[in-house]
């Protein structure tokens, strides 16, 4: 047996979250109550315990389970991003589900199980673990997307499921080709093999494998041209699930994308960075241009999520440790601002009426000042205006790109970012400067203590990262140092 107790230390956070998921399922079965909100807090307690077990993973890299799972700062930083996503999602969901009369333990359990999959993706150092973790995450999300069982919700689930199945097929075939070319799927062994055998960088089999992996990951992060599912799925899924998908899935997919491409395929950076350059540009541009034309806030946020994937891809194109740490800060910032924005979208809606059209937002800035302020902060952050987290994230990524001489990509990225200000500010202008109609669509907010807490936490996160980002940036820089 090549398995030691030390390996379990690396897996401890995952085990805690998994155990919490099972506990949630059992608690619902044994406590026959109408109110199930406590399950969300049970989940949060589990995540907090996992978070307490995580800091000791920072430090020099350790590999466990025969090189399948890493315990390093990179993984630990991503675990913390995912904890933030998980806690905020659970807080946002609780109130929303009760209002929509859909409060069941399975929802919370699936969120936690998806979280386990995401965490395994961030820690995986073997392509087989990457694949299985990705499937664990995806299947939970497919079910969550169809959770409301309305026509749109089920359509979203089915669309995501069918296209996601295709994408998984591409990913798996890519992994098979990499195995064919390298004889191993352990990420550090692949890296060593590429180094030892430079001829491999022109082998069609290895290149085709890298290409197929690009398709697989590109689908999960919603990069153009693999983004076709995004708007319908994000719009049709329950809003809390949309927030979870846009932040959690993106963070997890980018963590695996980073480790596989920047570590395993660093010998072929010249080859894949050209392809990703084009993908990054297309993703930013198409996401932003289409978002401008939207009149529905939820759909607009879906396209904006595509655009943000584009900015993150710029970091991946650069591929230096500086760019990797910038992406990590960006993903953390994105988690706060995106879940915050979706929390506001949830509050504006009410049972049976989501109120996601932009017209519904007319005048609510003055009628509900706290909501208006929160939404404005999140929109400013998404647009990348200081002193918010979004600005810091974009600044770090473009700085890394300039350091490596990607001037054109930086210029086009900044132009894109400027164009995006239009549609983010349009939400703020509608909220504050459009008179509210005589019979306003929104006559009250659906707000509870948990949703309010989530919004405040997200807002504090956005402002903290925007004003005093030094500590987090340093942590991210230390985290990538041991990545390899």
């Amino acid at each position: 047996m090549n398995f030691q107790m030390a390996d379990l230390q690396l897996l401890a956070p995952h085990i805690v979250v998994l155990a919490t998921a099972l506990l949630v399922l059992l608690a619902e079965a044994f406590c026959k109550g109408e109110r199930k909100g406590y399950l969300a807090y049970l989940g949060i307690a589990g995540i907090v315990v996992a978070a307490l077990l995580t800091p000791r993973l920072f430090g020099p890299q350790r590999l466990g389970f025969s090189g399948m799972l890493a315990g390093d700062g990179f993984a630990a930083f991503f675990y913390f991003i995912l904890y933030a996503v998980g806690i905020l999602t659970l807080l946002v969901s609780q109130n929303y589900l009760r209002d929509e009369r859909f409060e069941h333990g399975e929802y919370y359990a699936l969120v936690l199980l998806a979280l386990v999959g995401m965490m395994l993706m961030a820690g995986a150092t073997h392509l087989m673990v990457v694949f299985l973790a990705l499937e664990t995450m995806s299947i939970a999300i497919y079910a969550l997307a169809g959770y409301f069982r309305t026509e749109r919700s089920v359509e979203a689930s089915l669309k995501y499921f069918i296209l996601g199945g295709f994408a998984s097929g591409f990913l798996l075939y890519g992994i098979a080709l990499i195995y064919g070319a390298c004889g191993t799927t352990q990420i550090y062994d692949v890296m060593a093999y590429f180094k030892a055998l430079p001829a491999l960088t022109s082998s069609p089999m290895a290149l085709a494998g890298i290409g197929l992996l690009t398709v697989g990951f590109g689908f999960k992060v919603a990069a153009v041209p693999f983004h076709a599912w995004t708007p319908d799925v994000y719009q049709g899924a329950p809003t809390s699930v949309t927030a979870f998908m846009a932040t959690g899935v993106k963070a997890a997919a980018f963590s695996a994308f980073l480790r596989v491409f920047v570590v395993a395929f660093q010998g072929t950076h010249v080859e894949w960075s050209g392809v990703l350059w084009v993908l990054a540009l297309l993703t930013m541009t198409l996401g932003n241009l289409t978002a401008i034309a939207q009149t529905d806030v939820k759909r607009m946020l879906a396209y904006s999520s595509i655009a943000h994937a584009g900015y993150l891809l710029v970091g991946l194109v650069v591929g230096t440790p500086e760019a990797s740490s910038a992406m990590m800060v960006y993903l953390l910032a994105y988690a706060f601002m995106n879940i915050g924005a979706f929390a506001c979208v949830i509050m504006v809606g009410r049972y049976g009426q989501e109120n996601t059209s932009l017209d519904a937002y007319a005048g609510i800035g003055f009628r509900f000042p706290a909501l208006g302020l929160a939404m404005a902060v999140f929109m400013f952050s998404m647009a990348g205006i200081p002193p918010t987290a979004g600005f810091i994230g974009k600044f770090l990524i473009f700085k890394a790109a300039v350091h490596e001489g990607y001037y054109w990509l930086t210029i086009l990225g900044v132009l894109n970012s400027a164009a995006s200000v239009y549609y983010y500010l349009r939400v703020i202008i509608t909220m504050y400067f459009k008179p509210s109609p005589d019979e306003p669509a929104v006559d009250g907010l659906r707000v509870g203590p948990s949703a309010a807490l989530a919004t405040v936490l997200a807002g504090v996160g956005v402002l903290y990262l925007g004003i005093i980002p030094g500590g987090i940036i340093k942590l991210a820089e230390q985290a990538v140092r041991f990545m390899g």
């Binding site: 199980l113 673990v129 069609p204």
Partner: protein
């Protein structure tokens, strides 16, 4: 002889897969799937993976296919109606792209494989196929993926209940 059997089995697998896609009657599609599963089992056998061969026959060709046929009959799915016109521009573009992709995934096979683990000698093949070797690997180095697979099944189960149960 082995090569001829391989191509025969692979050919039937591809034809069966095409049948799954092209047949309009769901039962015919299911039968095509059976043909693909069984011929894949033969391919496994030719690669000396006896254990996987047996599992493939028992689990996929046997149990899973039985379930699929049952479900088709219980739901009484009739012949699928051809709803859309035959020559939509989207279809043409789709077929073109699929063709391009097909060519692209053939490219890897132009590279000459050297094999890193050494040649496939008789003794190596004997070892790979055995149940003992497989289980040693599964519960040794591949313990973590094995355990993740169990979480994956749990997620599938909870997800299916969430989506399918009439009243949660």
């Amino acid at each position: 002889m082995m090569l001829a059997m391989f191509f025969l089995a692979a050919g039937v697998a591809v034809l069966g897969a095409l049948g799954v896609l092209l047949c309009r009657n769901p039962i015919h599609s299911a039968l095509g799937l059976v043909a693909t599963m069984v011929s894949l089992a033969v391919v496994y056998l030719l690669h000396h993976a006896e254990f996987i061969f047996v599992i493939q026959l028992m689990v996929y060709a046997g149990a899973v296919m039985g379930l699929i046929v049952f479900v088709i009959m219980l739901l009484d799915i009739r012949r699928e109606e051809a709803a859309s016109s035959r020559f939509a521009p989207g279809k043409v573009v789709g077929v073109g792209l699929a063709g391009l992709f097909f060519v692209a995934i053939l490219v890897p096979f132009t590279s000459r494989l050297t094999g890193r683990m050494g040649g496939m000698t008789e003794s190596a093949l004997e070892r790979i196929g055995s149940v003992q070797y497989l289980s040693d690997q599964l519960f040794g180095p591949y313990l973590l993926p094995f355990e993740i697979a169990s979480i994956l099944l749990l997620v599938g189960l909870v997800g299916a209940v969430t989506l399918a149960k009439k009243k949660l």
